[in-house]
């Protein structure tokens, strides 16, 4: 880093909050994807004013700035692919306010998801998106990636809860969007533009979130299906039944086999396993809902159906789903975790298609995911030091994206575009949409300093 700029940064954040030492540069080169690139330096700002000063400096010197939360992104979104300054927001981690009466929480971007959850618990409230990375990922990161989770089908994603933001623009101006009111149609919806923008338009420095009362009762059931078609029909019919489960998860054959090979859970090796949870405030209510779900399972030739009666049984039913990621993560030295998403009527086709792609490219792909909102996680397992396997993995990914789009779906339901899916943006978005996105980026960030090289915005 240029000595003059280094001194200017140190002036802004203080010596202890600036680093260009090797150990930091290596750790800031990565996120949870397979991408990496070294930054030139990193800073830990403590408030929006410091962020504004840093951006003003970077903008005039035309140096890339990459906002970073916990670095758990799965698409290389926080990887400084063009070098520059890492803006680690984890020190801005204060919960500013919780107002149950106004049904909102105001937080700084570095607050970790689980810390807000813990703070809301005594009030019986929660912030529903619940990403599986919630113990580590930051709310700023959740907003910038529009994170979702298990409960997406019933409760939506981060987007549905962001009422307003404070954002620092690339030129250093500080802007407030949205309102603290529960609803607002005042002007363009700038808030939503920033949700899911992957740090390419502005740096989120404060978030106002809508919060929900937390249901106190749940019921859980599990079913296995010999045929994918039956499982697919069951998923569709549940929606017809008028019940929206709080979770509806699916595990594919390959995943079940992998779990069996690596644990003693002894699962039936069927085409699909579905796990449903309903929630509410009394057991009668949630049991009523789960009975309807079970009825649908049975009508669609489920081989076996189980309902949990005790906490222990609930835990047992979830065991397979909960172990899936860790089991698959241990099989090969490398994997990519995709998150293609399709309309629910196409889930069975998507699963079948994934199996075909796996066979065609001779590469192991195990699938699990959120059947309730059409979001699947095919996990492609390979050895990253074997160029031939890398090539097959890439070819399989490309086919997977194409399949999702052919099924009226999307490249990514929750993990974002970043670097990994940037080459496929034009597969999903028509030239007009791409043109508009590029113009939006140019308007906010004419010098392309904020998280450059992401989302396929550069032609």
């Amino acid at each position: 880093m240029d000595e003059k700029i280094k001194q200017a940064l140190i002036e802004i954040v203080g010596k202890e909050n600036y680093t260009d030492s090797l150990i930091d540069m290596v750790s800031f080169s990565y996120d949870a994807s397979e991408h990496s690139h070294r930054p030139a330096c990193a800073v830990w700002p403590s408030d929006a004013d410091q962020v504004a000063k840093i951006l003003r400096l970077a903008n005039s010197e035309k140096i890339p700035v990459i906002p970073r939360g916990a670095g758990t992104g799965l698409s290389g979104m926080a990887v400084p692919i063009k070098g520059g300054i890492i803006l680690d927001l984890s020190h801005m981690n204060r919960i500013v306010k919780i107002s149950i009466e106004d049904r909102l929480a105001v937080v700084k971007p570095g607050v970790v998801y689980v810390d807000l959850e813990k703070a809301l618990e005594p009030f019986g409230f929660f912030f529903p998106p619940d990403p599986a990375s919630g113990k580590v990922s930051t709310l700023g990161g959740n907003v910038a990636t529009n994170a979702g989770g298990l409960k997406g089908a019933k409760y939506g994603t981060t987007r549905d809860y962001v009422l307003g933001l404070q954002v620092v623009l690339p030129d250093g101006r500080i802007m407030r969007t949205g309102s603290k009111a529960m609803k607002s149609v005042s002007g363009y919806d700038l808030t939503r533009l920033f949700v899911g923008s992957e740090g390419t338009l502005g740096v989120v420095t404060e978030i106002t979130l809508k919060i929900n009362p937390k249901p106190t009762a749940t019921s859980t059931a599990l079913a296995t299906f010999d045929s994918l078609a039956d499982a697919g029909n069951a998923i569709n019919q549940i929606m017809h039944s008028g019940i929206i489960p709080s979770a509806l998860e699916i595990l594919g054959r390959e995943t079940l086999a992998a779990i069996n090979e690596n644990t003693d859970l002894n699962l039936p090796e069927v085409d699909a396993m579905l796990l449903a949870e309903t929630d509410g405030y009394t057991r009668e209510e949630t049991d009523y809902q789960i009975k309807k779900v079970i009825q649908v399972f049975e009508e669609n030739n489920a081989r076996e159906v189980k309902q949990a009666r005790t906490d222990k049984e609930v835990e047992d039913l979830w065991a397979a789903r909960k172990s899936a990621y860790a089991v698959l993560a241990r099989i090969k030295t490398h994997f990519v975790l995709e998150d293609v998403t399709v309309p629910m009527t196409h889930i069975a086709e998507l699963l079948k298609g994934v199996e075909e792609i796996s066979r065609r490219h001779d590469i192991q792909i195990a699938t699990f995911g959120h059947a309730g909102d059409g979001n699947l996680h095919p996990q492609i397992l390979y050895d990253g030091y074997d160029q031939e396997q890398v090539r097959r993995m890439e070819a399989a990914s490309a086919d997977l994206f194409k399949l999702a789009i052919d099924l009226d779906g999307t490249l990514t339901g929750e993990h974002g575009i970043g670097l990994a899916k940037a080459p496929y943006m034009t597969l999903e978005h028509d030239p007009v949409a791409m043109d508009v996105m590029r113009h939006v980026k140019k308007m906010f960030d004419p010098n392309n300093i904020l998280n450059p090289g992401k989302m396929g915005l550069e032609e």
Binding site: I23, D24, A326
Partner: protein, 367 residues
């Protein structure tokens, strides 16, 4: 591919299996105290991956993170990919020392144990007013921290054993030197030999250790296998005490801090709790307990080498003591007692004890 370092031979696969998920960030005490990702388990694994790829060298620049790990194993316990970070770190430190890169504090510790019998280079052993090296049923092995830094808890533990009429002896013990293996060096054979000879001379069938680390060293390390061959059992005092009744009770609110060396590393969670429940009517758990317990920050040589961060880690643990409103925090490791007590702020009114010291105090008061 021929590997340049020994750690690669053993741990290459595991290091590559780190998927960079970052889950360890939620539990790593060093990260928690510093919010610096390079010091987290993931940061450490990424550096080692780049070392294996030949992108960076295993040199002095890496000392700050690779020698700043308490080996608490909380990352390993929570790692979806099963990466045994503390064991990897220990192996890497050996390679670093061989390559001439080591934190000066540990070089110093190794040198001290060349010349002296304990890590503090104290020449006058505390005699704890007891006859040493006599024939007895049990040997009580104190450990360096208990001998030279936390002598009050040690005196209390001995008083308690007397009250319980246990036939034990102290020996002219020397440092078990297990810690050297964690910080890049090896156990000193001559120290191990001396301890074993003294223990065997007493004719004792069981060694009771006051220190969970000595307990692990005696039980697990090759250099101490002669004890096992001679049929001498080694137990930690918490295991020994659980069969006793004490006839005293406190109504103060008590909580328990699981030392990493006893908990995550040995799976000993219930024995101390069984004992504490006998004497405390109001026993509460901290939010992170048993296998999820937050490290006190003293282990892996971190207290010596990175004192400020070590204290910061202890403060985070003490916040949990406050959170549950405990008046007494008990633990089973003198290193934990030492670090937690040092980190305690004046406004924090609770007290930190080893379980034995607390029980002894209750019995003393009752007399």
């Amino acid at each position: 591919m021929e590997s340049k370092y020994e750690f690669e031979e053993k741990y290459r696969e595991q290091i590559l299996k780190c998927s960079r998920c970052g889950f360890c960030q939620a539990v790593c005490p060093v990260y928690g105290a510093t919010l610096r990702p390079a010091l987290n388990a993931r940061g450490k694994m990424l550096l080692l991956k780049e070392v294996m790829d030949g992108k960076i060298g295993l040199d002095d620049q890496l000392i700050e993170t690779l020698f700043q790990c308490t080996t608490c194993a909380n990352c390993f316990h929570n790692c979806p990919s099963g990466v045994d970070v503390p064991e990897i770190i220990k192996a890497v430190r050996q390679d670093m020392v061989r390559a001439g890169s080591c934190h000066p504090a540990f070089e110093g510790m190794n040198e001290v144990l060349e010349k002296h019998t304990n890590i503090y280079a104290e020449d006058e052993p505390e005699d704890f007013e007891r006859v040493r090296n006599r024939k007895a049923e049990y040997v009580y092995f104190i450990g360096c921290v208990g001998s030279y830094r936390e002598d009050e808890p040690t005196m209390a533990a001995l008083d308690l054993l007397d009250r319980l009429k246990v036939d034990y002896t102290l020996i002219d013990e020397v440092c078990c030197s297990g810690v050297l293996e964690d910080v890049g060096f090896s156990i000193k054979e001559h120290l191990a030999e001396k301890n074993m000879a003294l223990i065997l001379e007493t004719g004792a069938g069981t060694v009771i250790t006051g220190c969970p680390y000595c307990f692990r060293t005696f039980n697990d390390k090759l250099q101490y296998s002669r004890l096992r061959e001679a049929g001498v059992k080694v137990v930690h005092i918490t295991q020994f005490l659980q069969d006793f009744g004490f006839g005293v009770k406190t109504d103060k609110r008590v909580t328990y801090h699981d030392p990493c060396d006893l908990g995550r590393h040995c799976g000993i969670y219930e024995e101390p709790r069984n004992t504490i429940r006998k004497i405390a009517t109001d026993f509460v758990e901290m939010p992170d307990n048993r296998e999820n317990a937050l490290c006190c920050g003293a282990g892996g040589g971190v207290r010596g080498a990175y004192a400020k961060n070590s204290i910061a880690m202890a403060r985070r643990r003490l916040e949990q003591v406050e959170e549950v409103g405990a008046e007494i925090v008990l633990t089973e490791c003198n290193s934990c007692v030492h670090n937690l007590a040092n980190a305690k702020l004046r406004r924090q009114k609770f007290r930190v004890y080893s379980t034995t010291e607390f029980i002894n105090e209750l019995m003393e008061e009752a007399e």
